[in-house]
Symmetry: C2
Subunit: 211 residues, 2 copies
């Protein structure tokens, strides 16, 4: 299809969009033709937002979350509980957990999960810096909030072992169980089995949901 | 979700992507986080391709297709049949028809279809310039290759009436019928009815498909 493009400018823009995950050449062409119909200042603003994003964005020196300052607003917020650190895979997970309003501590963004299949080892993600934060002694709980996948479990286990020398630090992980709104009939056996083992007192649940 | 973004740079880039058709804020965030992981030169190239696309692209003065020159390569190609003009809605349709290798004439890109519901009238699309091309007298056939929708039919009919003063010009349209690969059982009645009315000689079809 490439040689059919009447313009190399069009071809370049389509190739760029098609390089994004989940966007094929047909969708890319549709997006590019949409941009062509917009005003020149609007399209220039689009391009500049992309360029500035990568060029000017900074990461928090403490938790590696996206930040415009050396230390992000969460890490530098004195009203947050600095003794509890929630370990997440990426920036999106920080947003998801912030949206629950249930975590009042800090974060640690790993920037990936251990995945031997993809050649990602412990040294490729921010585990050493997590251990260093724990070493400094102010942390009493590390919450592992990683995906319930093979990679998430591998990473959970690796971090758990790396934090073993610090017995004063409680290592917890997200509860696994039946998702809110899911029917028992369609819940997989593994999840169902775990949620029976980890069953909670009805009165506790009732109190929590009202808190 | 807006206020949860740790960076206005991130927020701006996400808003820009979310302004594209078919891309919501979740997908936009995924695309932006993907770009953040790419190298700075790569992301800069992305942004610049978008800016240059809108700033530098030109349209053919004859057929209004995208072009890097005043007259596009198709219009200026002497081996193409300048007496047959295929009228299409947009640039993508030119590519689709070029890919069939069945049209050897020129094109006329309307840049839209008449759609009273969307406030698009005949003066908003390139119909006057089509009539002018026909007026000049070199065109013997106009092929209407517009979508089989209400808007396409309205535009077909309008163009047909505008070209009525030029009886030497044959106005044709794409055949409507059962799509190749479609089962009769699942073909809608209107299409099926039309394809019975416009049935073709089996020997003709056989010859065409081998040509």
């Amino acid at each position: 299809m490439d040689q059919e493009f009447a313009s190399s400018l069009l071809e370049q823009a389509v190739s760029q969009f098609a390089s994004l995950p989940g966007i094929g050449r047909k969708t890319a062409l549709r997006l590019v033709l949409h941009l062509l119909k917009q005003s020149e200042p609007d399209v220039t603003a689009f391009g500049e937002a992309v360029i500035r994003l990568r060029r000017e964005i900074r990461y928090c020196k403490v938790c590696h979350n996206i930040s415009e300052t050396d230390v992000c607003p969460i890490c530098s917020n004195p009203s947050r509980d600095a003794s509890t650190v929630c370990v997440v895979e990426n920036v999106k997970d920080v947003m998801s957990i912030e949206n629950t309003h249930q975590h009042h501590g800090l974060y640690h963004v790993l920037g990936g999960l251990i995945s031997p299949m993809d050649g990602i080892g412990p040294q490729d993600i921010e585990i050493d810096s997590l251990v260093k934060r724990v070493e400094q002694g102010d942390i009493s709980e590390v919450i592992l909030a990683l995906s319930a996948t093979m990679e998430g479990d591998t990473t959970n286990f690796y971090i758990f072992r790396r934090l073993a020398p610090y017995p004063q630090v409680k290592v917890t992980m997200l509860a696994r169980g039946v998702s809110v709104g899911n029917e028992i009939e369609y819940t997989d056996e593994l999840t169902l089995g775990r949620s029976i083992l980890n069953r909670t007192l009805f009165s506790d649940t009732f109190t929590h949901s009202n808190s």
